[in-house]
Amino acid sequence: MNETKPIKSAKFVASYGQNESVIITYEDNSVLGVPFDNNNTDYQNYLDWVAAGNTAEAAD
């Protein structure tokens, strides 16, 4: 069973040229700003998504 929502896309947010978070858009179109924290389950879900071969879009 899925215990995490499937991710549709992701995009980095930068500050002074450095990525500071990632904005995740889920399949249900909900949007979440996620910090780079290994204890954050949304970030864990994002890392799984990347490990599955996906890539976040670069920051503006």
Binding site: I23, N40, T41
Partner: protein, 491 residues
């Protein structure tokens, strides 16, 4: 032969009858006496034995001991100046103590006028009952490992018709494969909700099924669950690697369709384990209180960290993909998605195929010990505090203060309501505005979390706005005026 008198001896060869007293100065020896009836004292200088010798049934010896081998019936009061003993098992002490080494059975025991122990329980007035633990666990408050077990807290607000969502704080509902997604909600109870109402529950968590026209396919499922931090299990006092140490889950449940109530529990640390559970069937539309006892197991592991330790799941319906294996109901086994519930459980399919079928639960308590205790009712503020470790919503007038880095990019820091489980994610519900105090509010164009300045204790927000707001580096600023966001550190 007649009476003979020879010297000092008298021999009487026939029956004798004396109409007056008989005095004997020496020893009287006689045999075959049928009855002895004395109108005065009987004195036996060497004791009394009753019954044929040897093996007399009763005797009283000259040292005061009395031995009776048969039943003794005493119609009056027994006064004993020393202890009374029954075998080696019971002693009634002269000082008022009673010691019994075996089982004592009594319908009612009273201690003075203050304490009565009967089959219905213990009633104690005065100072009540003092004990070191209750149900094998600490006698402290916060026995419940479930947070928001009465569904009272719902910071996200409102119901939702979605595949998955938090229907109340800490309570997550999820479905997959539906033709029409369900509605997750909180329902107010009334005095007609016999059972939970009397126990003080005013809200229940509810899922209302959609119209599943294609039936329950193999990969379909719907459930409600709550996850618990590993820390909370590891330090709960549950000796979880012992099969004689227990958690007890108790809750009220109601379904609009008669069905079996069950689900599964799973762990995450070490080799993930699962415990498929059932607490039997319920009739349609009838609140029923259910209790489940969960033993420990040598394969269970709970690390001391903030990550997920345990998930408790209530099944609405599972497709055959999740019931095709051996469920091993009531036993801990290695997790496998193929056997999360027993196949053919009453109502599993019927509930799914019943349009608008409902499933309600409330009063959920998971505690250490082998018996359920009364639900811990907390104040709203206490339960809200526990919930805000995982989720908090922020939408007051002026939420955070910061410093402008430029006319378009600023940073605000603020403390969450309480330290969160992890550095939180942000959901922006409304951007609101930013202001350099003393000037006009300007629209915020983006609100992002900044990892460099964010942890469990403090949050740093990157605030983007259009130029022309009059701000420049180091200007103090405030965000708010419609800003509405949520911080999430759920597990």
């Amino acid at each position: 032969m007649a009476v003979q008198i020879s010297g000092n001896d008298i021999t009487v060869p026939r029956d004798g009858t004396f109409s007056r007293n008989v005095s004997i100065a020496g020893t009287l020896t006689y045999e075959d006496v049928t009855n002895v009836d004395s109108i005065g004292l009987v004195t036996a200088r060497n004791g009394i034995e009753v019954g044929a010798s040897p093996g007399v049934a009763a005797s009283i010896s000259v040292d005061g001991n009395m031995i009776v081998s048969g039943i003794t019936t005493i119609g009056g009061v027994v006064n004993a100046s020393s202890d009374i003993k029954v075998g080696s098992g019971v002693t009634v002490g002269k000082d008022g103590d009673i010691f019994a080494t075996g089982v004592t059975t009594s319908s009612t025991v009273k201690v003075g006028a203050a304490v009565t122990i009967s089959e219905s329980g213990i009633e104690a007035s005065g100072i009540g009952i003092t004990c070191g633990n209750l149900n094998g666990s600490a006698l402290s408050n916060r026995r419940n490992l479930i947070i928001n077990g009465d569904f009272f807290i719902h910071q996200r607000q409102g119901a939702g018709t979605l595949a998955s969502m938090y229907l109340a704080d800490r309570w997550y509902g999820e479905s997959s494969g539906t033709d029409e997604v369900p509605t997750w909600s909180r329902e107010s109870l009334s005095s007609s909700d016999t059972g939970p109402w009397e126990e003080g529950f005013r809200i229940a968590g509810r899922v209302t099924n959609g119209n599943q026209t294609s039936g329950l396919d193999a990969g379909d499922y719907m459930y409600m669950n709550q996850t618990i931090e590993a820390n909370n299990l590891a330090q709960s006092g549950w000796n979880y690697t012992s099969s004689s140490s227990y958690l007890t889950l108790s809750f009220w449940v109601r379904s609009s369709v008669a069905r079996e109530i069950g689900g599964y529990i799973r762990t995450y640390d070490g080799t993930a384990q699962k415990f498929v559970w059932t607490v039997g069937d319920v009739s349609a539309n009838t609140w029923t209180k259910k209790v489940l006892r969960i033993p420990g197991n040598s394969n269970l592991q709970f690390d001391t960290n903030e990550n997920i330790g345990l998930q408790v799941q209530w099944r609405m319906s599972y497709g055959s993909n999740y019931t095709s294996g051996s469920a091993n109901v009531g036993s801990w086994v290695t997790l496998s998605n193929a056997d999360l519930g027993q196949d053919g459980a009453t109502g599993n399919d019927t509930w799914w195929t019943t349009n608008d079928a409902t499933y309600d639960i409330t009063g959920v308590q998971l505690e250490v010990g082998s018996q359920p205790t009364a639900f811990e009712h907390h104040t709203y503020a206490e339960e809200l505090f526990l919930c805000q470790r995982y989720y908090g919503r922020y939408n007051s007038g002026r939420i955070a203060h910061g410093v402008a880095g430029s006319s378009t990019e600023s940073y605000c820091t603020f403390h969450p309501y309480q330290p969160m489980r992890a550095a939180p994610s942000i959901t922006v519900n409304a951007l609101g505005k930013v202001v350099k105090e003393g000037t006009a509010w300007y629209d915020i164009s983006a609100l992002n979390i900044n990892s460099s300045g964010t942890d469990q204790y403090i949050v740093t927000l990157q605030v983007m706005s259009s130029g022309g707001n009059g701000m420049s580096g180091t200007n103090a600023l405030t965000i708010g005026n419609g800003t509405d966001f949520s911080l999430t550190a759920e597990i």
